[in-house]
């Protein structure tokens, strides 16, 4: 199995989730993260003094999927998360040795 980790704009989370469940991938784990990259953060005022906040809030989505599904999952995420503007984010694919479902003890594909 593969672990597909994507960093997307928070307001795109909903769209990505829909896209994935259409592929039958109902499970995922989401973390709110701070992103640094080409996209600059906004500037804030403080007693009239201005300074720029260099991180941008992002949503980090982890999905474990069967190897054969990876390409379609990646496409789906790209479609759903894309705005064409800088800061759309990244997708990282890595390998998983094993997956276990705690409730049943099932492993690997059966656990997804």
């Amino acid at each position: 199995m593969k672990l597909v980790t994507s960093i997307v704009k928070p307001f795109k989370l909903e769209d990505v989730r829909k896209a994935l469940s259409e592929l039958g991938v109902s499970g995922m784990t989401v973390t709110e993260v701070k992103g640094f990259g080409r996209q600059r953060g906004h500037t804030e005022l403080y007693r009239g003094a201005e300074y720029s906040v260099d991180f941008v809030p992002k949503s980090r989505i982890e999905v474990a999927v069967k190897a054969e599904l990876v390409d379609r999952v990646v496409d789906a995420i790209v479609q759903a998360a894309k705005t064409g503007k800088v800061g759309d984010g990244k997708i990282f694919i890595s390998d998983l040795d094993r997956v276990v479902r705690i409730r049943t003890g099932e492993v690997d594909d059966a656990a997804l």
């Binding site: 804030e44 005022l45 403080y46 007693r47 009239g48 003094a49 201005e50 300074y51 906040v53």
Partner: protein, 484 residues
């Protein structure tokens, strides 16, 4: 091991105070003896001495002049107390306490980083308690009873508030010569809330880096050596600035300039916060700040209109001037920021409102609505500059602008009071020169004394937390607590 060393220090500091408190306890027990004897010394004031509305609601038309104005606290009959004035003054006292806790506490707490929010709240709360006890012991007595030397402080007749009595069977009670129609207890508590908020304001200048124990020592000493004398000089008729004719209706000089300049001293003595200028130190939760600013505004009616020490037309005029000036200052700050920085900020409008409240404080009982607008706009614009450009230029870390807003705003108000005071409203003309005397005295005396006290505390308790404690945040390092 570092930890343990610290605990030691704290314990020492703590123990010190504990001792103090206990000692006073003994005195206290001593001082519960019926004060009848003492009381009778004071001549019972003729009912006619009641002035303004008191007389009014008592159905007589006695002009204030009718009786020689008393010069010290004295015993009067229950019938001389005006229930309306008393109601307003008790309400005002509650309002002014609300300004400090939770008002000011929140105003400041919202501006610090999350790791220091509890410590910042704790400062205002602890000061409230400490000052109250010192006020009971000796503060009220040396500030608001007549003294022998106009350049010194008041007498000790109210030590432990002895002699401030209410005698059920004789239907008599004492009143202050500064408020003849309300019980002295109420006047003493009203003034206590002023003595509380003044040191609490200073906290804005040394936020996020001062040791809690050091703060208690500094504030306690500062109250007795700086606040009480200046309050006595400006407000107690026998004080030299009062007799010079300095106008300060509700404390622009005594409270705000005084707190602001002491703040500057702390900012200089403690130095900058780690990472100041480099890291972003954005306010962590301006919701708290806005709640605080709102409660300050609401409570300030007690501060200014309450300073009429009566529920009359003078109080009403002070009330109106306060409200209007505040709105004008808030808008002024907001628009200047909007135009110069491109956006109107929540912190900006809140700061502007406070600047307006500060500036109208000395003027409130002396000016009408239109003059209030001028004072407000001036305060909003000038304090905006002092808290931004000026601070940046000099590079001191007046963290939450206690100096930039309170000292500067207080000066603006004090001088404009001299320029705009209306004879029609107050019966007396103002003078910018005399106001300058009050301002200058406070700036110099306040700054010098504050520096000395800070130095002493630094050499004994130590002013600043360790770099690790500062980095971890004062909430955990000073109080072992944390906001989720």
């Amino acid at each position: 091991m570092r930890i343990s060393r610290h605990l030691e220090k704290y314990k020492k500091a703590g123990a010190g105070f504990m001792a103090a408190v206990l000692v006073t306890l003994l005195w206290a027990t001593a001082s519960i003896t019926p004060s009848r004897a003492l009381a009778d010394e004071a001549p019972a004031a003729p009912a006619a001495a009641a002035t303004g509305d008191a007389a009014a609601t008592a159905g007589t038309a006695a002009a204030p002049a009718a009786a020689p104005a008393p010069t010290e606290p004295q015993m009067v009959k229950f019938a001389d107390i005006n229930s309306g004035d008393t109601a307003w003054m008790m309400t005002s006292t509650a309002l002014v306490l609300m300004m400090t806790i939770p008002g000011l506490a929140l105003f400041y707490a919202g501006m610090v980083r999350k790791k220091n929010v509890l410590a910042t709240l704790m400062q205002s709360f602890a000061i409230t308690c400490l000052v109250t006890i010192l006020w009971w012991i000796v503060g009220y007595s040396i500030a608001f009873t007549p003294g022998t030397n106009p350049y010194g402080v008041g007498g000790l007749s109210r030590l432990f508030m002895k002699g401030m009595v209410y005698m059920h069977d004789d239907q008599k009670l004492t009143v202050s010569h500064l408020g003849l129609t309300i019980p002295e207890t109420v006047y003493a508590m009203f003034q206590a809330t002023f003595a509380i908020i003044t040191p609490a304001l200073i906290c804005g200048s040394f936020a996020e880096r001062m040791k809690f124990s050091a703060m208690l020592w500094f504030m306690g000493i500062w109250l007795l050596l700086v606040y009480c004398p200046i309050a006595h000089w400006v407000w107690e008729p026998s004080g030299w600035l009062a007799s010079k004719g300095v106008l300060d209706f509700a404390g622009g000089t005594v409270v705000h300039i005084n707190a602001g300049i002491a703040g500057l001293a702390t900012a200089i003595m403690l130095g900058k916060r780690q990472g100041f200028g480099k890291e972003a130190m954005a306010p962590h939760n301006l919701t708290l700040t806005l709640i605080g600013a709102s409660l300050l505004w609401v409570g300030w009616f007690g501060f200014n209109a309450g300073s009429a020490v009566a529920s009359d037309g003078r109080a009403g005029m002070a009330f109106a001037a306060t409200h209007i000036a505040t709105a004008a200052a808030a808008l002024a700050w907001m628009f200047v920021e909007w135009i110069t920085k491109g956006k109107p900020s929540v912190l900006g409008i809140a700061s502007g409102a406070v600047a307006g409240l500060v500036a109208i404080t000395p003027a409130s009982g002396f000016v009408g609505p239109s003059a209030a607008v001028i004072i407000g706009v001036a305060a909003g614009v000038i304090c905006f500059i002092s808290s931004t450009s000026v601070k940046k230029a000099f590079g001191y870390d007046d963290s939450l602008d206690a100096f930039g807003v309170h000292c500067i705003g207080g000066i603006v108000g004090a001088l404009l009071t001299g320029a705009l005071a209306s004879k029609e409203i107050s019966g007396s003309d103002g003078s910018v020169l005399i106001q300058l005397l009050g301002v200058g005295t406070t700036l110099i005396y306040g700054f010098v004394m504050s520096m000395i006290i800070l130095k002493v505390v630094d050499m004994t308790v130590g002013l600043r937390v360790t770099s690790d404690d500062e980095r971890e945040g004062l909430d955990i390092s000073q109080h072992g607590e944390r906001v989720e």
